[in-house]
């Protein structure tokens, strides 16, 4: 069986030595050598897709992180999602005459405490803890939905709802007392989420 002497053949070749000498000469005589890499994204315009007039009072802010990991065959992905759940009152859900005032008494009928916006995850701030393999878009979407579900379940607790309700009553009471009302009676709808 013939032995292959490729490495030795290359070393013995004069072309190899000529190229090596040229390479070293280039390195020796090259000055101000610089490798420049782009590090900024391209400047592009933003597209405003919708503008909405809203009337939302926020009374409790819950900032959460959720660690979501998944393994599918040879693919692995673990991410830390960040979200801010805002509990408060959406005045679009209030009755037309939610504030009735007479003499020194103000009677307020406020809507129920709710999550002001069901889109509360800042996905652009998601940190990848571990990644292996080619992760598909559907897998990432599934992880995002799971993070959202977990955050919502942990934020909408009876304790947090109660805290938001107490803060809402306190803030509205203070507002109307500052307007000159001595008695402020507040009724709130029950949160059913």
């Amino acid at each position: 069986m013939k032995k292959i002497f490729i490495p030795k053949a290359i070393i013995m070749s004069p072309i190899f030595w000529i190229l090596l000498v040229i390479g070293f000469a280039l390195l020796y005589f090259t000055k101000n050598f610089e490798i420049k890499k782009t590090d900024k994204i391209a400047e592009t315009a933003i597209d405003i897709t919708a503008i909405k007039d809203i009337s939302e009072w926020e009374f409790l802010t819950i900032q959460r992180e959720e660690f979501i990991d998944t393994t599918l065959r040879s693919k692995e992905l673990a991410c830390i999602y960040t979200g801010t759940i805002r509990l408060g009152l959406n005045m679009r859900h209030a009755k037309k005459k939610w504030a009735v005032c007479s003499h020194d008494t103000a009677r307020l009928e406020l809507p129920a405490i709710e999550i002001l916006d069901n889109n509360f995850i800042d996905e652009a701030s998601t940190r990848t803890f571990h990644s292996k393999g080619n992760i598909s878009a559907s897998l990432k979407e599934g992880m995002y939905r799971e993070a959202k579900r977990q955050m919502k379940a942990k934020a909408l607790t009876p304790e947090n709802i109660r805290t938001a309700e107490e803060n809402a009553k306190d803030q509205f009471s203070r507002l109307f007392k500052n307007l000159g009302f001595k008695v402020v009676l507040i009724q709130m709808e029950e949160c059913i989420e």
């Binding site: 090259t30 490798i35 933003i46 503008i51 009374f59 959460r64 660690f67 996905e123 307007l179």
Partner: protein, 220 residues
């Protein structure tokens, strides 16, 4: 020789035992998976919402520069390495009522004057269109890793917030705040012509707070 081998085995075994213990300790010391960062009482009135779409694009151009025998040279590495990431963000304008008190209200007979803090803007959510994300790679260029994509997205969000300052979000927020507060004062018995609502001119201070809030979001 046997004694030497025996000692080596003992040392190696001890090493593995020790590292095994510390690994176990590391597992028990791992932070809990789901973390509450903060629960904060507040009083904010959100008056306007902007839904924004942006395609974050990055073109990785690598160029090599230098000089040889006083002759300058410059060339770019051939091949494409580009990425486009579509994102949607929700930006809201709000008035912070945390420090609102009797000093913000002036009553003069039948007239009432309310001074509100100037509106601020905040990004409340962002969503990446994973299915719409595209990478363009030549055979000689490597794939984008997740850390690189995170960096481009951070730059994208900063660009969105920077561009929002050129829109009328602050002005719209003021108008809608007026439209929300006025009915309260009308219900309290004041007439339309006797209601005056002003905003404190704190644009510079609020711009600084927007940056701080943005930093808080990106570093959580």
């Amino acid at each position: 020789m046997i004694r030497f081998t025996h000692n080596i085995l003992l040392i190696t075994l001890s090493f593995f035992l020790l590292t095994g213990c510390s690994n176990q300790e590391k597992e028990t010391q791992d932070p809990e998976k789901n973390l509450i960062l903060a629960i904060t009482k507040c009083s904010k009135l959100y008056t306007v919402q902007y839904n924004v779409h942006k395609v974050v694009t990055f073109d990785d151009i690598v160029s090599i520069k230098g000089s040889i025998f006083s002759e300058k040279f410059s060339f770019t590495i051939p091949g494409d390495r580009k990425i486009a990431i579509p994102i949607d963000a929700t930006i809201k304008g709000f008035i912070d009522f945390s420090n609102f008190n009797e000093q913000n209200i002036t009553m003069n007979g039948e007239e009432i004057t309310i001074t509100l803090p100037d509106p601020q803007i905040v990004m409340t959510s962002s969503k990446i269109d994973h299915a719409g994300m595209k990478e363009y790679l030549s055979w000689n260029r490597t794939k984008f890793d997740e850390k690189e994509k995170e960096d481009y997205l951070k730059q994208g969000i900063a660009s969105i917030l920077s561009n929002m300052k050129n829109t009328d979000i602050i002005e719209r927020s003021r108008i809608n705040a007026f439209n929300t507060i006025q009915p309260i004062l009308l219900a309290a018995g004041y007439k339309t012509e006797n209601i005056h609502i002003y905003f404190r001119n704190e644009i510079e201070k609020n711009a600084h707070q927007d940056e701080l809030f943005f930093n808080l979001i990106t570093h959580n």
